[in-house]
């Protein structure tokens, strides 16, 4: 028998008497007799303890914490701590692209800037590009490869995957469009080795356009459009400024046609026919709200109108009831023949065929459309994808690899895919996180973030660019391309693979005299980030064949269809939802609705009234929406400009598996989309909506719709007036004095400031600002601006330093009213309003009202024209915010960093997220006021560089984050004391003794009558319309 050994502490335990038992039950022996006879602690004890406590606390507080300084062991030669390094790279997300410069500090990417060397993206950015640097530090990313949800090593995964791949039949690789030649080559390796099939799709499908070009030119492609050459642009539901591939480039091209000045007195004209008010529609000179069920007829009627004049077969379709705007568009298009452009966002191949035919008649090919170059960012095929889904469910697809795509979420057939994944023997996802699709697969081989990867791109044929890693892999991830190479049994590194591809294909055709060797060529390409060798080919022959178009159009489109229609759209903040877990994007106000953290039905105000929904201050109600057999409760947001009889809903929301920021925000709109006959259709007819009466609040940053006739805020004119008088639309307020009326600046109690050195200023061209919002996110990244979350936005406590005010015009009937009725009516935007975007940030007033009311002089004036804000001096009285006429000051109501209650503020609430913070800018504390500083850290850095070289700063060296990110060059920043600077030239600055004046006829100050003398000038908005604008009518 086994004996159990006994151990005891001492004899008393061995005896185990009552006294021992009693003491053993107490955790702490009570040696210290604290307390009175009766056991209660005495007052004296309390004081003693408290005294000791206070002494201990104050002693502990006095001891300064020991800080360590840990240098590199072997310092890289090119990295100097505290000095930023810039690396050229390329932003890539799904199928979007932008050439960028990555700013790194001590090896951490902290900011992205547009790469000015790229003639494709043109040096601007988009909100998604700016925000992508935070996605790098997202804690929800997978930290290692997984099998069945368990983390494994790459060796284990590789060996299992290799054996599985060898056994599986009918392997399919699913991806978004691939614009990278080398990535495509690695996929081809997989295709060859395993007899696999590669199917690509796009979240926002361009299948219709691609198929139309395939039918007419023989090659399935989306040609390169050049908006800068267009004098007349007509868009049918194509939001080219907001959602088209390469929209930074398009914004730049479009804005170039809208600039006006001494030497350029003419501008382009944009017509928009659309259902939802899009970014493009809000920039249009003429906009007509139409129903999607009419779209085909509008295009066909435009074709007929043009064909009847220029010559070409007519398409037999129904006539429209009211075609005044359409005929006007047709005559303008023909007037500017050769400089015209018609685009359509429809995914209907018949509509796209008509658009091609119109463009051919107008001579656009070779001018505004270059069909020799294709945009490789949208190549997906809806029909192939539908076949894949069928195969998956029938069992013919034995294995599937999802390469950085999430079709369960973002494809209308998502449900069927989710059901089918289990039927495939082998399923793998390379997604960077657990998402709707990857949570259903067996193997997870997480990809690097693009800032950790080597890659190459050919966004437009002949224009190449490179991605280079700017940080070492944060997690145990591996580039997909490397995985593909490994699985197909080769051992080359992807970096060498790209290099050899470039050597074989590009170095061979590059100008051989320019480079000594391939390595010199490669070094330059990596340094520049881009390599461009546009081919000079003849335009391909376009064979217009419109057979079957008229019947197709006739079947699908009706002149006056009854019933509600739904139009899905991509907004400019969360976009397609790939980066939905990025709080900067969630909190960026939608440019049109100004709503954050949600999607909602955009409904015409008339329809809202009909439904009897009462709209309060950010409060609304939900409706039960049924479309394509899906029913969801969705809040309503009245949207002026929304075509009556239609509702709009943004995609990109309603994520269920993405991360704590995105999960549960809004509803998934993709599931409403139709996918019949192999075409994804974002327009749905036969929709029903019933008010549910359920209250809901949408967090908007701007609830006022119009500027209430304050012509000193928005000054606008139409082109004809501008051409007659360059000061047209300007408002000249006068101040009554004892000596009669005077210009506001002539009357002042102020002494004025002297600026001996620099005088920083900014010019914002309302005509080229498209309202895209890149500046808002760029500013947030640069200046460590916290994310406050939906609840705080509802409290109107958002923190953005730069907001873009969006103003609608009110209806013309208002002018006939008077008194209170008129004021009431002026508040309401008209049914189809004109839209103006006005970026608004601290105006850096020379006579700043905020400075005079600060009781502690925390905000003062600098000798360079800046309103300085010293955070550590601020005691939070908020007098300055109350006294600011522009309402641009922001108050830290809470501690937003290291605070669990603001855990969606990823950049400040975990160690990984904090890596994105700009070390040159303070993270503000609770109770402190903050505002735009004109990026004073950049001003100081630019000056210092110049001083070190013993010279004056060059123009363009010092640029604020907003100006640098602006894709349309609407924001210009510079030194007004430098007569050669761009801002001095554009504004024709005249430096007086104590003031600066602009001789540019369009330049004005917002709220000039207040005499605060801002350092920001706005240029009047000019619309290319025939008739006078309403405000001027009111003046007359």
């Amino acid at each position: 028998m086994k004996q159990t050994k006994k151990y005891w502490k001492g004899l008393e335990q061995l005896d185990n008497n009552a006294d021992f038992q009693e003491r053993a039950n107490k955790e702490f022996p009570d040696y210290l007799p604290i307390g009175n006879e009766d056991g209660e602690p005495s007052r004296r004890d309390f004081l003693k303890l408290m005294g000791f406590g206070i002494a201990a606390v104050s002693l502990a507080a006095c001891e300064t914490p020991v800080k360590k300084a840990i240098p590199y062991v072997k310092k890289p030669e090119t990295v100097d701590p505290t000095t930023p390094n810039y690396y050229a790279s390329s932003y890539i997300s799904g199928n979007d692209y932008c050439s960028v410069l990555v700013k790194t500090r001590e090896g951490r990417p902290i900011k992205l800037e547009g790469n000015k060397l790229s003639s494709i993206s043109g040096g601007g950015t988009t909100p998604q590009v700016e925000a992508s640097v935070l996605s790098l530090y997202d804690q929800e990313r997978l930290k290692a490869p997984q099998i069945d949800g368990k983390e494994v090593s790459w060796e284990t995964l590789d060996s299992e995957v290799s054996s599985q791949l060898a056994a599986v039949s009918g392997l399919t690789i699913i991806s978004n469009s691939i614009a990278s030649p080398s990535t495509q080559a690695t996929i081809n390796k997989m295709v060859e080795k395993f007899g696999a099939k590669h199917v690509s799709y796009d979240q926002v499908s361009f299948s219709g356009m691609l198929d139309a070009y395939e039918a007419m030119t023989g090659s399935r492609m989306m040609p390169q459009h050049d908006f800068s050459k267009a004098k007349t642009i007509v868009s049918f539901g194509a939001d080219f400024l907001g959602t088209w591939p390469n929209r930074t480039g398009i914004n730049k091209q479009f804005a170039a046609t809208r600039k006006l000045g001494k030497d350029k007195q003419d501008m382009s004209r944009l017509y928009a026919f659309e259902s939802n008010l899009s970014l493009t529609g809000s920039n249009a000179d003429y906009r007509l709200p139409i129903k999607p069920s009419q779209e085909g007829l509008y295009v066909a009627n435009l074709y007929n109108a043009i064909a009847s004049k220029i010559g070409g077969e007519q398409v037999k379709v129904a006539k429209l009831h009211d075609d005044a705007v359409l005929n006007k568009a047709a005559s303008d298009l023909m007037k500017s023949k050769g400089e015209s452009l018609v685009v359509s966002g429809s995914n209907d191949v018949n509509v796209q065929k008509l658009v091609i035919a119109i463009n051919k008649l107008l001579g656009s090919y070779g001018s505004t459309i270059d069909a020799t170059k294709s945009i490789n960012l949208r190549k997906g095929s809806d029909s192939e994808f539908e076949n894949f889904v069928k195969g998956l469910n029938s069992g013919s697809v034995g294995g599937v690899i999802f390469y950085n795509c999430n079709p369960v979420y973002d494809h209308p057939l998502g449900d069927q895919i989710a059901a089918g994944i289990g039927k495939a023997k082998f399923s793998l996802s390379t997604s960077d996180r657990k998402d709707e699709t990857s949570s259903l697969v067996k193997y997870m081989a997480p990809d690097n973030h693009y800032l950790e990867s080597w890659n190459d791109f050919e966004p437009v044929s002949g224009y190449f660019s490179l991605s280079q890693p700017s940080i070492r892999n944060i997690f145990d991830t591996r580039q997909v391309q490397q995985s593909f190479i490994n699985w197909s049994g080769e051992s080359v590194s992807y970096y060498d693979f790209i290099k050899s591809n470039w050597e074989a294909k590009l170095y061979a055709v590059a100008d051989s005299t320019a480079f000594m060797s391939f390595s010199a060529f490669w070094d330059k390409a990596v340094h520049d980030g881009v390599f461009e060798i546009p081919t000079m080919e003849d335009q391909p022959e376009i064979v217009v064949d419109l057979s079957g178009v008229s019947s197709g159009i006739g079947r699908k489109y009706k002149v006056d269809a009854q019933g509600l229609e739904l139009v899905l759209y991509q907004n400019n903040s969360v976009a397609d939802g790939t980066q939905a877990n990025n709080p900067w994007l969630q909190e960026m106000p939608d440019p049109i609705t100004k709503a954050t953290w949600d999607n909602y039905l955009t409904v015409s105000p008339k329809q809202v009234d009909e439904w009897g929904i009462k709209i309060g201050d950010m409060s609304t109600q939900k409706v039960k929406l049924t479309a394509n057999g899906v029913t969801l409760d969705i809040p309503v947001l009245p949207q002026p400009g929304q075509a009556y009889g239609t509702v709009g809903l943004a995609i990109g929301y309603g994520r269920t598996v993405s991360g704590k920021v995105a999960n549960g925000v809004g509803v998934n709109a993709y599931q409403f989309a139709g996918s019949e006959g192999g075409v994804v259709d974002f327009t749905v007819t036969n929709v029903t909506a019933e008010p549910t009466g359920e209250e809901y609040r949408i967090a908007q940053t701007q609830t006022h719709e119009t500027y209430m006739g304050r012509e000193t805020v928005i000054q606008e004119a139409v082109l004809k007036e501008y051409q007659k008088d360059n000061q047209a639309g300007r408002s000249f307020p006068k101040i009554a004095t004892a000596e009669g009326y005077k210009k506001p600046y002539a009357v002042s109690l102020w002494q004025g400031h002297e600026y001996p050195n620099h005088h920083w200023g900014m010019m914002i061209d309302l005509n080229s600002c498209t309202g895209c919002g890149s500046c808002t996110v760029a500013c947030q990244t640069e200046n460590n601006i916290p994310v406050v979350g939906k609840a705080e936005v509802l409290n109107r406590r958002e923190m953005h330093w730069i907001r873009i005010d969006r103003y609608y015009s009110h209806s013309e009937e208002v002018e006939s009213l008077s008194g209170l009725a008129k004021i009431k009516a002026m508040e309401k935007a008209s049914e189809n309003p004109e839209v103006t975007f006005q970026p608004m940030m601290c105006q850096q007033c020379n006579n700043a009202p905020c400075e005079t009311v600060c009781p502690v002089a925390a905000t003062t004036h600098s000798s360079e024209g800046l309103n300085q804000m010293a955070y550590n001096r601020c005691i939070g009285t908020r007098y300055c915010a109350n006294n600011c006429p522009y309402k641009v000051r922001r108050f830290n109501w809470f501690k937003y960093h290291d605070n669990e209650q603001f855990d969606t503020n990823l950049a400040m609430n975990n160690d990984l997220g904090k890596m994105v913070l700009n070390p040159d800018v303070t993270v503000r504390a609770r109770g402190v006021m903050e505002k735009c500083t004109f990026c004073v850290q950049r001003v100081q850095a630019g000056k210092l560089e110049a001083k070190k070289d013993g010279r004056r700063p060059k123009d363009g060296e010092v640029v604020s984050a907003c100006a640098s990110s602006c894709p349309s060059d609407a924001i210009v920043f510079g030194d007004m004391k430098d007569p050669e600077s761009r801002i001095s030239q554009l504004l024709q600055i005249q430096v007086g003794e104590k003031s600066v004046e602009s001789k540019e006829p369009r330049a004005y100050h917002v709220l000039e009558e207040l005499r605060v003398m801002p350092n920001i000038w706005y240029l009047t908005k000019i619309r290319n319309k025939d008739q006078e604008s309403k405000t001027d009518k009111a003046h007359a």
Binding site: C62, T64, V66, K67, K68, A69, I70, P71, Y72, V73, K74, K75, D80, P81, T82, T83, P756, N757, A858, T860, S862, S863, E864, L866, Q868, M869, A870, Y871, N872, R873, D920, V921, T922, T933, V936, Q937, Q940, K943, L944, A946, K947, K948, G950, R951, R952
Partner: protein, 435 residues
């Protein structure tokens, strides 16, 4: 940069003055000396100064004139070797060694086979370098001269003046106290005498009998009030002064993981600060040097004062960078050195070294104190905002040769005949340091 600037300048002044005297007294000799170029090495000022800059830029890491560093002491090297030999040695020492030159091989062996790198100098440059060495060889080792003269001159000048003043003051005070004593004695005697007198009238008696009661005076409202006021005022002042020192770490001298001596490196060996603190001229942080910079010298210098083996402190560098002094090989197992940070500015204050060092041409010592004398570094300045501001008020902007300031100087001189200080160009504005 890191020379003993003040004492040095005094020393230099002393040496210059004595030279001037010597020059006047023995001008004939010095003229003769200048003509002594039989060895082909001129000693005119221009070649010496050209040589000096070449020497300081290239040679000081391994050579000094009067003592052995890594390479031999160069005193009188022009006498020990021929000029031709020196030319070929400096241009390419390895070539000379391989050619089997006896002297060359001997030097190479003597200095542990550390090759002197080849320098692509022209003959003229090397000649001026030798000129500098020749002139320097003629001088006594500078350091000692500097120290003795420095102490001499300070003891000779300052204490005389201030000591005299103090003595006069003390004497004055003593005399006054004596007078006071004598006067009170007289008053006492007179009062006593008057009291004994009878027949004083009432008014006079009152004056004589007047009791200046000390106790009464002490308990008077005025005195109590004054004492309480002074006490409270002092207490407040102490409290406020105390509050101002919260967080001020002047004198902070933590123990560092390696007992690195700035006195040895920067003081005795005169290594330029920027050699190790590479960021001081070009970036915000001066940078604590990474061990690979230490290894530039310490791969060879393994101990101090000519001792055998590896010094305990230098071994810590080897451990950090995983260097094996036996084999001279580097490994992969590196461990960063965790220095204790001494100068801690709060995060809300932006300070940039390059602005002050490169643009403002400030000496390191201005803020860091006599770092070249510190065995262990301590925080010399208070690093408070008041301290920053004060310096910005007093310091004249270094505008010389910097086109950035041209316009500003013009503007300033139009309005003001005082020199342009940092304050005048906005150096006190909040946003210059806080954003």
């Amino acid at each position: 940069m890191l020379t003993k600037k003040q004492s040095m300048s005094k020393a230099i002044r002393f040496v210059l003055i004595s030279f001037t005297y010597t020059f006047f007294l023995f001008s004939s000799y010095s003229t003769f000396a200048q003509e002594d170029t039989s060895d082909g090495i001129p000693t005119d000022d221009s070649s010496v100064s050209a040589g000096e800059s070449t020497f300081k830029a290239n040679c000081t890491q391994c050579h000094a004139i009067h003592e052995k560093v890594i390479g031999p002491a160069l005193k009188d090297v022009h006498e020990r070797r021929t000029k031709e030999w020196l030319l070929s040695w400096i241009k390419n020492s390895q070539k000379l060694i391989q050619s089997g030159d006896e002297q060359a091989v001997a030097v190479y062996e003597e200095y542990n086979k550390i090759a002197m790198p080849a320098y692509p100098f022209s003959d003229d440059e090397i000649t001026s370098l030798l000129a500098y060495i020749k002139v320097e060889s003629g001088k006594e080792p500078v350091k000692e001269v500097a120290e003795t003269t420095a102490t001499d001159s300070t003891t000779a000048e300052a204490p005389v003046a201030s000591g005299y003043l103090t003595a006069v003051l003390i004497i004055l005070v003593v005399v006054l106290v004596l007078i006071l004593f004598v006067l009170s004695l007289i008053v006492n005697t007179l009062t006593k005498y008057l009291k004994e007198q009878k027949g004083l009238d009432e008014a006079d008696a009152e004056i004589v009998d007047q009791r200046t009661s000390f106790q009464k005076l002490l308990t008077s409202d005025f005195v109590i009030g004054a004492v309480v006021f002074i006490f409270v005022a002092l207490l407040l002042k102490t409290a406020i002064d105390g509050a101002f020192t919260v967080g001020v770490q002047q004198g902070y001298q933590p123990t560092q993981p390696i007992a690195y001596s700035h006195k040895l490196h920067a003081g005795d060996f005169q290594i330029d600060c920027n050699y190790c603190h590479t960021g001081a001229r070009k970036s915000k942080a001066a940078n604590i040097p990474s061990p690979n910079i230490c290894m530039n010298c310490h791969e060879v210098i393994q101990n101090i004062e000519g001792k055998e083996g590896v010094s305990k402190e230098i071994a810590k560098i080897y451990e950090a960078i995983d260097f094996n002094p036996e084999t001279g090989e580097y490994g992969e197992d590196t461990k960063p050195i965790e220095w204790v940070r001494i100068h801690n500015l709060p995060d809300l204050a932006y300070f940039n070294h390059s602005q002050h060092v490169t643009v403002g041409k400030q000496e390191c010592q201005t803020c860091h104190g006599p770092i070249e004398e510190m065995e262990e570094v301590y925080q010399y300045s208070t690093l408070t905002m008041g301290w920053c501001i004060n310096c910005h008020r007093e310091t004249e902007v270094n505008t010389k040769g910097n086109d950035y300031y041209t316009k500003l100087v013009e503007f300033h001189s139009e309005q003001n005949d005082q020199p342009m200080t940092v304050e005048d160009i906005g150096g006190l504005e909040c946003s210059k340091c806080h954003y």
